[in-house]
């Protein structure tokens, strides 16, 4: 590969780099724009002056959002949800994917179990019956209502199962000959080489939990218990109403009236909602990249 770098190859690489950088910019510029809006003076935003650089820089929009504790409370519910939901997902994925990755000879019931799970992707009964079951199992208004109904993400399980099946059979055969149990095989042989795929599905379920909003609105009885996305979905940012409702006009309020508009506060709120992801994301990506290297070792 490095021996013969022809001219056409060089042109291709240059073109490729430009294309990739352009693609990356398309993905990131919308957020830069919103960030700039959130930091700008409301008049500059209203006059269509702000594109990628804040004008009349100030932090009042953030101040305004953070002064109301509703946002932080919703954030906390979301963090709890992820902290409980993701490990539960991961455990069930592993416990399910491993048996189903067996060949038909080694596990004769594989197909039946597989269909049992796959059918659920296709037939969702709809909101009302699901609500009834959730209520019947006593989970309404509890964080578990957001975790247990989707405890096994079938798609992720299929991804892991598929990966485990693609592992060289000799690995397991050797273990089997050594007399290792299934659990031992899973824990000491299969899981260590499955890190990349497990990292992938961890991300899947992290994202799924972080982003769902509708179940929060339906299963949570109180607005205070809404996770962040549910809260954001119902929260029509009405700055004027907020100012009107502030029963004692303080210096803060006067500053908000001067600097903050519905657009700047909306942008600030979106950014605040992204912050946890921006914190966790580089860590996950690093882990993920390691996972990819591990994955390539096995070949």
């Amino acid at each position: 590969m490095n021996m013969q770098t022809s001219v056409s190859r060089k042109i291709f690489m240059a073109f490729n780099c430009i294309l990739l950088v352009g693609t990356a910019l398309i993905c990131i510029l919308p957020f830069i724009n919103q960030l700039a809006v959130s930091f700008s003076h409301k008049n500059a935003v209203a006059a269509n002056q702000v594109i990628f650089w804040p004008i009349g820089f100030n932090l009042s929009a953030y101040d305004f959002i953070l002064k109301g504790d509703a946002f932080m409370r919703a954030l906390w519910v979301s963090i709890q949800r992820v902290a409980i939901g993701v490990p539960v997902n991961l455990l069930l994925i592993i416990l399910t994917a491993y048996p189903l990755s067996k060949s038909k000879e080694n596990f004769r019931f594989r197909s039946i179990y597989s269909w049992f799970f796959v059918v659920t992707i296709l037939f969702s009964a709809g909101l009302i019956p699901t609500y009834m079951i959730v209520r019947f199992t006593g989970l309404i208004d509890s964080i578990w209502a957001l975790v247990l109904p989707g405890a096994l993400p079938v798609f992720s399980m299929l991804v892991v199962m598929n990966y485990m099946r693609s592992l060289p059979p000799e690995l397991e055969e050797a273990a089997y000959v050594d007399g290792a149990s299934h659990v031992r095989t899973l824990v000491y042989i299969i899981l260590p080489v499955s890190t990349p795929t497990l990292a992938t599905v961890t991300l899947f379920s992290f994202v799924a939990h972080w982003n769902s909003w509708f179940d929060g609105q339906i299963y949570m009885n109180r607005i205070q218990n809404y996770p962040l996305q549910s809260y954001l979905q119902t929260m029509v940012i009405n700055v004027e109403a907020f100012f009107r409702n502030s029963t004692n006009v303080s210096a803060d309020i006067a500053r908000y009236i001067e600097l903050v508009s519905a657009r700047t506060s909306a942008a600030a709120q979106m950014f605040l909602a992204m912050i946890p992801i921006l914190i966790i994301y580089p860590f996950l990506q690093k882990y993920f990249a390691t996972g990819l290297v591990l994955g390539s070792v096995k070949g």
């Binding site: 490729n16 693609t23 910019l25 197909s111 709809g126 019956p129 405890a151 994202v207 990819l292």
Partner: protein, 327 residues
Amino acid sequence: MRREALPPHICTNINLFAWGEIMNNSKLRRRNKNLRELPLHIMLIPAVVLVGIYSYGSMAGIGIAFQRFVPTNGLFGSEWVGLQNFQTLFTMPTFWPIIRNTVFIALSKMILHVVVPVIFALLLNEVANIGFKRSIQTFVYLPHFLSWIILAGIFKDLLSPSSGAVALLMSPLGIQIPFFLGDKFWFPITMVLTDVWKGFGFGSVIYLAALTSIDPSLYESAMIDGAGRWKQTLHITLPGIQSTIILMTVLGMANILNGGFDQIYNMYSPVVLDTGDILDTFVFRLGIESAQFALSTAAGFFKSIVSLLFIIASYYLADRTAGYRIF
């Protein structure tokens, strides 16, 4: 039926870690597959129980589709009306246009969600510089992590023809952008493109993972044979990730009637209902906003049946053409 496979209480006392040793010293091993399979059944119990309760338990609710549903003591209190709800549904003037919209949006998304990530993964795979590669990845993965709640808010602002950043960037060039979210023609296209924008980066992850597992010696021997980069891509890289592409496509087929509820529900408005209303938003409006539970369930059931047919068809297709089985 093999009884020993079923009752969980028998199995709970067995030390699973010791099981292998027991098996090893036992002559039962070859004769009795059931015992060897027992731990596998046990592992599946939690998932079977939870899926049984929450997915299958609620499936009984599909019965509502065949009733004149009166929300009262559970499912069996209402009058059964056969297929009447479906008849009503199919004769609704909006129903078939909604199916058309759904299929158009879902199909476009399905295709692009395979094509764009694969191309992107191939291009990124050509880059040797790890740092550059990782930076690009950091940026393109990001949208996937964000909810449609947030992204809908951003796009509504960004795409506004009067005050959005896109319009502001284009107006000095003399380009007047269309009203992406308020125009019947552009709305579905915008839905497809923004969805691809959100997902292609992360969608490429699975292909990048597949690419790294291709045996490097194959490339080396190809180079010795004098095969160029393009030929290597065609004959080694693509076949190497073929199984992944097929898996993703087949799994995607089940989405034939999935237009993307979160996205469209948070971005549509009455003006684009003609072209932008999809089955899921329709089911939602019918069931939750208009309290037409039976009709709504019937529409949802219709969607499930169609999806099932598609997944079965695609499953056989993958098996026949590529010798590939998902499970």
